[in-house]
């Protein structure tokens, strides 16, 4: 039996145009609260894997812990809640990428510490191995340390649980290779990459069951104390580089192929 805590923030829909702006609270995105958001992609995979594992191991339970503005989280939960059964735990605070990972870990730690009935000896701490906002790949490890978890794995694509509760983990390493490890069991922290499961279809029944707990969780969310001044940003800019693209068309394939060959050899 596992107590699976999935940490996942919200990020702007990847198809949105993003522009950094500096406001009174530090750096953020232009019209950040207006941008449609999604659950962070790699955290989503962690959630699907958690739900799959909880279903396979009777007695297990999944919590989704998220730091973000309540109003945005409520919007995102309308979709996410239909994907997998979980109980939401909310820390009401900024979800942007410019917040320090240490500060985020502190806020998540406070939220997790407040979960009633959470058994640390059964804890599997899940999350994405990087966010699509900060992209630091450090929050989960810091949080794991705060929770006293010293068996940690990153870039996980597969988790197999043995009959004795041991864990076999496949982690991405360099050059398209995998490292396979075994751990004697929980507690452990796993930062998921893509995993093996496809995105589950929306299940309205799961959504209805989840939303009964989501709304109270949002209402009782405590403000998270996040120090926006932890990082001294000197500048935040969009890449300005725009290339002059030479378009080659109405040209015989032989000529194009030879040009590519010459370029390869240069």
């Amino acid at each position: 039996m596992f107590h699976i805590v999935v940490c996942g923030g919200i990020v702007p829909d990847p198809l949105q145009t993003l522009e950094p702006v500096k406001g009174p609270a530090g750096w953020g995105l232009k019209n950040e609260l207006m941008l449609p958001s999604i659950l962070d992609p790699w955290a989503s995979h962690a959630l699907y894997e958690a739900a799959h594992l909880a279903k396979a191991v009777p007695g297990s339970k999944v919590w989704l812990v998220s730091l973000g503005p309540k109003a945005k989280l409520q919007q995102v939960m309308m979709t996410v809640a239909q994907k997998a059964p979980f109980e939401l735990v909310v820390a009401d605070g900024p979800a942007g990428g410019f917040v320090d990972s240490f500060e985020v870990a502190e806020a998540l730690f406070a939220a997790i510490s407040g979960i009633a009935g959470l058994d640390a000896s059964k804890l599997l701490l899940f999350g994405g191995w990087q966010s699509a906002s900060r992209g630091s790949g450090s929050t989960l490890q810091i949080l794991g340390e705060k929770l006293g978890i010293t068996d940690q794995f990153q870039g996980v694509d597969k988790l197999t649980v043995g009959a004795d509760g041991s864990l076999e983990v496949m982690e991405r390493i360099e050059g398209g290779a995998y490292q396979i490890s075994t751990c004697t069991g929980a507690p452990a922290a796993l930062g998921w990459a893509t995993g093996e499961l496809p995105e589950p279809p929306n299940n309205p029944q799961v959504g209805m069951a989840n939303m009964r707990l989501v709304m109270p969780a949002l209402q009782k969310a405590k403000p998270a104390a996040v120090n926006a001044a932890a990082i001294d940003y000197q500048s935040v800019t969009l890449p300005a580089q725009k290339r002059e693209t030479r378009v080659v068309k109405d040209t015989p394939v032989d000529v194009i192929a030879q040009e590519i060959i010459d370029w390869l050899a240069s």
Binding site: Q16, S101, F102, A132, Q152, S181, P198, L238, I256, E259
Partner: protein, 339 residues
């Protein structure tokens, strides 16, 4: 005054990985810019050859033993923590390889320090260290500094030339780290990698070949030619010794039951939820999409694209050359010319 510690795991053959030597160049550059002390921290089964290779950089602190030979969070974090304390480091710099990226954030937490990962540039400005890194999947770039210490920084590969100073006799300080039972709950069983011939992810290749979803779509004759697409792509990769990247849409097709290129996995994916590889040259074929999808080849120096749409956002303003042509025909001929 800052004390900068460069940290790296030592491979089984006693050498340092190229990514680590690049991070060492970054650390050296910063130390020189700040007028700071530079020290080296190494951990592994036997660090002597690596210590000799970097002896000219500064004093070397070392954690050695069989327990530290493997890439395991608990022992790696313990080693890095001990090295940081032994060197009284205020700034800790390492490569952002999988091993250090797994452990160093936890070390920052243990030291009550802070961390910035995947840094692409590091410099001294007005007497302060300044790092540059991407946000929102490299769609924007920030320059930042911090007052908090210790400050851990991981440096992305391909941003600095690898350190190649003359070897010497290292001033070596052994740092003892007791290995407890709790640190060995995890056992490394194996590293699984395709054979060199089968491997299509080649980080050291000069060329990245990006395959887009167009390869699996219906062609001019009204039929899809997925097997031929696979042969053309693998043929090119083999002959040009190129690395393969793919768009998310092409990789996802496998999970959606559509006909796919069987050798593609999520590990090949570049872009928003994939890798942002660094190669000298990149050739994108049958790739379409606007700005968010293009981050996958933001760090490719020379970029060319082949697709049928002259106005495609993947190429316009992003590629140096766009060939408006049928990628099947072009790559078939390219492969013939490559022999």
């Amino acid at each position: 005054m800052e004390t900068i510690l460069f940290c790296a795991p030592v491979a089984a053959d006693g050498t340092l990985a190229k990514a680590s030597l690049e991070a060492l160049s970054a650390a050296k550059t910063l130390a020189e810019g700040l007028g700071a002390t530079l020290a080296v921290g190494l951990f592994g089964a036997d660090v002597a050859p690596a210590a000799a290779a970097v002896a000219a950089c500064g004093p070397v602190f070392a954690v050695t033993g069989e327990a530290f030979a493997v890439a395991r969070y608990a022992t790696d974090a313990a080693a890095l923590e001990a090295l940081a304390k032994a060197a009284s480091a205020t700034i800790i710099i390492a490569a952002d390889d999988s091993r250090v990226s797994r452990a160093l954030p936890g070390v920052a937490a243990r030291l009550n320090g802070r961390i910035d990962a995947h840094v692409v540039a590091i410099a001294a400005k007005d007497g302060k260290p300044l790092v540059t890194r991407g946000y929102y999947r490299q769609r924007m770039t920030a320059e930042l500094t911090r007052a908090a210490r210790p400050w851990c920084v991981t440096v992305s590969g391909g941003c600095y030339a690898a350190y190649d100073g003359a070897p010497g006799q290292a001033s070596l300080t052994d740092v003892s780290v007791p290995v407890t039972e709790a640190m060995t709950r995890t056992t490394i069983k194996a590293v699984v990698a395709p054979s060199a011939d089968e491997q299509t992810i080649r980080p050291d290749a000069k060329m990245l070949f990006v395959a887009g979803a167009g390869w699996t779509k219906k062609q001019g004759d009204g039929a899809a030619h997925v097997p031929e697409a696979g042969q053309l792509i693998l043929g090119f990769l083999g002959k040009a010794k190129a690395s393969l990247g793919s768009s998310k849409s092409l990789v996802d097709m496998g999970g959606e039951g559509e006909s796919v290129l069987p050798f593609l996995t999520h590990l090949h994916q570049v872009g928003q939820t994939g890798a942002t590889p660094r190669h000298q040259k990149g050739l994108a074929t049958c790739c379409h999409g606007e700005e968010p999808h293009v981050v996958g080849w933001r760090f490719i120096t020379e970029r060319r694209a082949v697709n049928l749409d002259a106005a495609c956002g993947w190429a316009q303003g992003k590629a140096d050359v766009l060939y408006v042509a049928d990628a099947f025909e072009v790559m078939r001929r390219v492969n013939e010319l490559l022999g």
